[in-house]
């Protein structure tokens, strides 16, 4: 019996994979960036399917909106043209392909071994409501949270220093 949720899951997952493949295959940077937006929005749909509305909305606002707008803005500003397709380097053929296959195998084995043992997504749990999420963020995970904001502050300061150097 295929439920509606499963159908929506496969549609969204398919879109995400399609976007990811198209991201690599497109020859123009803007088309690649658009494919990445498709991946981000499909992921937001998957989060929504798991009952994490807040994460889904933030995924679109931050990754689908802010980050990708910046990518597109930079590509447009540099006026990057169509990329030339080169032959695979020897490194990629002899090193990359076996490594990619090995990584794929490891992930497949890990999923196969842990199937049925993973906890189901909490429908009414802490992660689903915004209030629960913020309570967790500011109590249990307050140190990682503050550490992340400190990291971002360092990045901002670095950007300012780099921009000021010329003057």
């Amino acid at each position: 019996m295929i439920s509606g949720v499963l159908v929506i899951f496969f549609v969204l997952a398919g879109l995400a994979v399609l976007g990811a493949v198209s991201l690599i295959l497109q020859s123009h940077p803007i088309h690649s960036a658009l494919s990445l937006i498709l991946v981000m929005v499909s992921l937001a749909g998957l989060y929504l399917l798991m009952g994490a509305e807040f994460i889904a909305a933030v995924q679109i606002i931050v990754y689908g909106g802010a980050v990708m707008v910046l990518f597109i803005f930079v590509i447009m500003l540099l006026n990057a043209g169509v990329e030339e397709r080169t032959n695979f380097s020897k490194m990629a053929t002899f090193g990359g392909v076996p490594l990619a296959l090995a990584l794929g195998c490891i992930i497949a084995v890990a999923i196969a071994r842990s199937s049925g043992r993973l906890p189901a997504p909490a429908a009414d749990g802490a992660m689903s409501s915004t209030r629960g999420l913020s309570n967790l963020l500011f109590s249990e995970f307050v140190y990682p949270f503050e550490l992340t904001s400190f990291l971002i502050l360092v990045a901002i300061l670095g950007a300012i220093v780099l921009a000021q150097r010329e003057n």
Partner: protein, 409 residues
């Protein structure tokens, strides 16, 4: 009837609501262009459209036919995917943003209770911001895909402007969220209800029982940022005609241009609705709930308006006008009398009446500003956004949190 609704209501009701909303919004968009041209004309001591139909009332219809029949040339060297996708994206996102807006309190028809809007989502405000965040792609792609330097500059300006003002837009709302404690627009409106009418709206924030604080700073920041987000005067740099021809939509004609146009007006309606919901109590009446006399206000407005339109129509110079205007006036008068006579209908219409009155005023304000203010220069725009609007919004968040904390103790 009620059995069918109870069984299949979840499927039928949303489809009917979407159909009604799209029809209403597209008509509203069309007449908003008429209103804009009329109001600006009168600000500038001109007549505005007055040839097609009485008082130019059929002008939107003529414009619509023109859009459909016009040739749609495609410039050489465009990026076809981006060029065709951009107008669809703009229109689609603008229309989607209306789906989470509550236009009134819950209504019951044939024993089936439903929310007055398409979707009642518990994160509706975040959904709206997510849609706004994606909205910039329509303009950026149109500007980049058109293979035109003016379009590209317009697209770049628009991306930079929308990134800058989105921060202020989001932060100016945080004060309202702190008061309401909820992302649902419906709950934000319900939280503003009180015995004191308009005094308990978020803009004034006078309330006895729960922590509340005036959001007038947030309100002003939100309105300025919202105008910048919808690319309207005085922030219409992406399509500054004296510098960039028509900016990002220079190379668009016919229906594709119309899609940008409808998208812009629809997002104006969406932003005005959000403004009314967040700061002006949404569908709530400005009078205290005990003043039941004010429930006749729709009739008091509709009947004289209808009578005046009839009086104006019978003296109109063209025969078409002498037919259409009295007909229109008669419809208004009948609606006014019907609301006066059937009190259940009158009660049901109160919420939407106040909601659309507020939205109408905000839309008029938009047009008024376009007729009054000059355009910002680009560096002024960036300075204002980053050095004034953003710090003031953050200060409002800090101030509101401090006051609410202090009152809770």
């Amino acid at each position: 009837m009620s059995e069918i609704l109870a069984k299949y209501g979840f499927l039928i009701v949303p489809i009917v609501k979407v159909a009604i909303l799209v029809f209403v919004v597209l008509t509203l968009d069309a007449y908003l262009t008429w209103l804009e041209r009329k109001v600006i004309a009168h600000i500038q001591a001109r007549w505005g459209p007055h040839r097609v139909g009485p008082h130019g009332l059929l002008q939107p219809l003529a414009d619509g036919i023109k859009f459909i029949l016009k040739e749609d040339p495609m410039p050489t060297g465009v990026d076809k995917k981006a060029y065709f996708f951009a107008p669809f994206l703009t229109l689609m996102l603008a229309l989607t943003s209306l789906s989470v807006i509550p236009f009134g309190p819950d209504i019951t028809i044939f024993g089936y209770t439903t929310n007055f809007g398409i979707a009642d989502v518990n994160i509706s405000l975040l959904v709206l911001f997510a849609i706004t965040a994606l909205g910039v792609y329509g303009i950026a792609l149109a500007g980049w895909g058109s293979n035109n330097k003016y379009s590209l500059l317009g697209g770049l300006r628009s991306s930079a402007q929308m990134i800058s003002y989105e921060l202020a837009l989001t932060l100016s709302v945080v004060g309202v969220l702190l008061i309401a404690g909820d992302f649902s627009l419906k709950h934000i409106v319900e939280k503003q209800a009180g015995d004191l009418g308009l005094l308990s709206w978020n803009i004034i924030g006078f309330s006895k029982d729960h922590g509340s604080f005036t959001q007038i700073i947030g309100c002003i920041c939100f309105f300025i940022a919202a105008i910048a987000e919808t690319n309207r005067v005085p922030f219409d740099l992406p399509e500054a005609e004296s510098e960039l021809v028509a900016g990002f939509h220079t190379e668009y004609a016919s229906m594709k241009f119309a899609m940008f146009f409808i998208g812009e007006y629809t997002s104006m309606i969406a932003v005005s609705s959000l403004f009314a919901i967040l700061f002006f109590g949404g569908w709530l009446s400005p009078f205290p709930a005990s003043w039941t006399m004010t429930h006749y206000l729709p009739s008091i407005i509709f009947i004289p308006l209808g009578l005046w339109v009839i009086y104006d129509g019978i003296r109109y110079e063209t025969i078409l006008g002498r037919v259409i205007l009295p007909g229109l006036g008669a419809v208004f008068t009948v609606i006014g009398f019907a609301l006066f006579l059937f009190s259940p209908v009158n009660e049901a219409i109160q919420g939407p009446f106040w909601f659309f009155a507020k939205v109408g005023f905000v839309l008029f304000f938009y047009i008024w500003m376009r007729g009054t203010l000059p355009r910002f220069r680009y560096d002024q725009l960036m300075d204002f956004g980053w050095k004034f609007l953003l710090p003031v919004s953050i200060a409002n968040v800090v101030l509101t949190s401090a006051v609410i904390m202090w009152r809770m103790k």
